[in-house]
Symmetry: C2
Subunit: 459 residues, 2 copies
């Protein structure tokens, strides 16, 4: 097809009535099932943490492949994802001098190793550090004490994560030899929150870490005593070559349009401090369960249901990028996709970026979701992280928004463990994903996936 060819206006996408009846049944079956909870338990117990590229990550890949097979998926395969490997070996922080004491910290992902000792200079937020003149922090350790806000939709994480991603480079520009920040989190426990950071081109990376909230409080109180506070930050961490992991994929074959897929999933990797239960064992477990329950139906939906357990989301969406690249030619076959990567709280809203002609179908899906306490929220939000590369290329996305009020109490901490998951909330998630995927896979008409520049794939 030539570039610039006009497409005819598509017919409205609709959902056949029998599919709605089946989806209502499926919803109730899912609500009564603990399958998603049990799959999440299996992953987080049998594998535990699974830092991308680690030995445990390889075990997680084997686990996911075996689990898809055990659940009776029609096709199960893996796709390689290669990325730089980051390792954490040890980390500590010690206030020196008359108030000598250790502080609970964790290195930010991507931080180099190294031991630095310097006076701590506190900043209220990233903007304040960015305003520090070059040379003003020579030989010192920058400390951003920004407190992230709690919100159902996780909106407080925007400035929280920017403090993590942008703080180290701002510190380097001002001359700092180390960087510490109040964790991007909403709890008050001695469990610091890790997460990836980066360093701008041309800067020499410095050891960078997050303090647990009580330790950020403590450091602030120590500074308020009015005398210089010297901190020793010792990180044995860093990049160490390359690793290859895998996107693990299971598919329930569609009954009449098997080459068209509705994609759901989560990410298989986790940070190393907890066991990655809410981030993102739950996302993997609940979408695997949703696919399995669809597979258990007497008749599969028209399209295939593809469940993807993405590799290495945490360190830069490596699995999502690899998927988009590997499947670039099949973009339009991906009818619509939704990723679960915001914990294990109840879903309260459904939205989609699908075009006008598919909004009727979206509203039909919303009606079947409504008894789960889920409202229709138009085109609010966006695709999940691992879907964002492919969505940027033009894949249609849906969002099943989870209540993240407590998510950042546990996110990226040692406290991200299976006991934090409410089985009833997880069953509600499974029901919502099953309904969405089944109905989208049963729709007459599409949800608008097409190359973002208006060209079809393969031009």
């Amino acid at each position: 097809m030539l570039a610039g060819t006009l497409h005819a206006a598509p017919k409205d996408t609709t959902i056949p009535a029998p599919a709605i009846d089946t989806a209502v049944q499926l919803r109730e079956t899912a609500l009564a099932s603990d399958l998603g909870y049990r799959i999440t338990e299996s992953l987080t117990t049998e594998v535990g943490q699974r830092l991308a590229g680690s030995e445990a990550d390889a075990r997680a890949v084997a686990w996911a492949k075996a689990k898809f097979e055990e659940l009776g998926y029609d096709k199960v395969w893996t796709e390689p994802v290669t990325f730089p490997k980051w390792e954490r070996r040890s980390e500590s922080a010690q206030v020196l001098g008359p108030h000598s004491q250790s502080l609970a910290i964790t290195a930010l992902g991507g931080s180099p190793g190294g031991t630095v000792t310097g006076e701590v200079v506190r900043f209220a937020d990233l903007a304040a550090l960015e305003a520090a003149p070059a040379g003003s922090l020579d030989g010192k350790i920058a400390f951003i004490d920004y407190k992230m806000e709690r919100a159902r939709d996780g909106s407080g994480y925007g400035p929280g994560s920017r403090t993590r991603s942008g703080g180290p480079s701002a510190a380097i520009r001002a001359g700092a030899i180390g960087y510490v920040m109040r964790s991007a989190g909403t709890d008050s426990h001695r469990n610091p929150h890790t997460g990836i950071t980066r360093f701008d081109e041309g800067l020499t990376p410095i050891p960078s870490a997050a303090l647990a909230a009580p330790d950020a409080d403590q450091l602030t109180r120590l500074l308020a005593l009015g005398k210089p506070i010297e901190l020793k930050l010792a990180l044995d961490v860093g990049w160490n070559g390359e690793a290859t992991s895998y996107n693990v994929i299971g598919e329930i074959t569609g009954s009449s349009k098997p080459d068209e897929v509705v994609l759901i999933g989560g990410h298989l990797d986790s940070w190393d401090l907890g066991t990655g239960a809410i981030d993102d064992g739950a996302g993997v477990g609940l979408t695997m369960a949703a696919g399995k329950l669809i597979g258990d139906l007497e008749t599969a939906p028209a399209r295939s249901i593809r469940v993807v357990a993405f590799a290495n989301e945490e360190q830069g969406l490596h699995g999502g990028k690899a998927y988009a690249e590997a499947h670039a030619d099949e973009l339009e076959q991906h009818q619509i996709a939704a990723e679960s990567d915001f914990g294990a709280g109840r879903i309260y809203a459904f939205s989609t970026g699908a075009p006008e002609y598919a909004q009727g179908a979206a509203k039909t899906i919303a009606q079947v979701l409504a008894p789960l306490g889920i409202e229709f929220a138009g085109d609010a939000g966006g695709p999940g992280p691992d879907l964002s590369p492919f969505a940027a290329d033009g894949m249609a996305w849906a969002r099943l928004a989870q209540d993240g009020t407590d998510y950042f109490d546990y996110h990226h901490t040692p406290d991200d463990t299976f006991d934090k998951i409410d089985p009833e909330a997880l069953a509600q998630n499974v029901a919502a994903y099953a309904v969405f995927a089944y109905l989208a896979a049963s729709a007459d008409g599409d949800f608008g996936s097409k190359p973002a520049d208006g060209d079809t794939a393969g031009d």
Copy 2:
């Protein structure tokens, strides 16, 4: 006086009306003051953790002496307390084999160091482990998975702490080479609870540790997979000679009976994981503040107010025992004593073991406490831990019972930090201790302190 001499029945102890008026004023002054909160902040910030016998413990002693002086106490002194010194250097636990993962643990105080690897055998509670036949755990690691109950009065800690103190010896008798237990706590965070343990005479101590609650859950799930689970427990901890610390004492001199004292206090040492804010920085801070507020009155009460910051409570009431020994000859001069060592929650009850003739005075005290939400509870409870040796010798005690509903969420964990203290609750505590101490020091008549065998001291 000859042993066995009959004492005449004492007159009823009463409290003069002007003292009640002053106590009402004192209560309101204390409620409006943040002094106790600020003292606790100072200790936990400037010193941080203060494991008995550590360098930080010595700093805490210096801090307490300086703080009493800064607060204008009439007399400030220290009394030496010598005890075996226990050190924690490093600790880890790793599940080996196909489910390899680390578990969050902390050595129990008094545990020997050592690295042991063995199959884990789970027991529901201490009684179940005690029933294990000799030899049945040869080469294995015993695991007690007992869940402590939450209660306002902390009553769940009885079986919880017995699991800690009795578990290791029971494990050794069955042949175990290591001991792990679900922490004696009520939270669900990755923060294990330490605390002292002991080993029965004649047994060779084994490495002994507590798992954080989520890790006890995890180990239980791993065992439920039905195959042997091997654990490597590596503790670099242990006894290391003797140390001398100090009971630090401040006194407000009584106006007419300065040799008679009403004693209040807390303990200065803490475990090393947190900063000892609720255990027992708060107890030290609030009783120091109560004494200071009494010292600020135009006229001191008849008797002296003695505030004691006891040394090394955590590892065996060493400070309390040393105090009882050092002051054995002055038992009857100690009119009555109350220790705060149950966190920083609001006080809900006042009780005393004082004899019948002092109950009227106790009720008068209770009436002044009542507006603080404190009820009179007769002779319920007993003396605080550091007072128990002297109370066993015959010193009269009072109890200002704190709401400990959340106490065991933080107790002996890294999470015992200053941010866990509610300043208003702490002010209520200061008010209660000030009222109690002032009125007891103003009473006509005593509260029944006398040698427990009926003999007066010095016989």
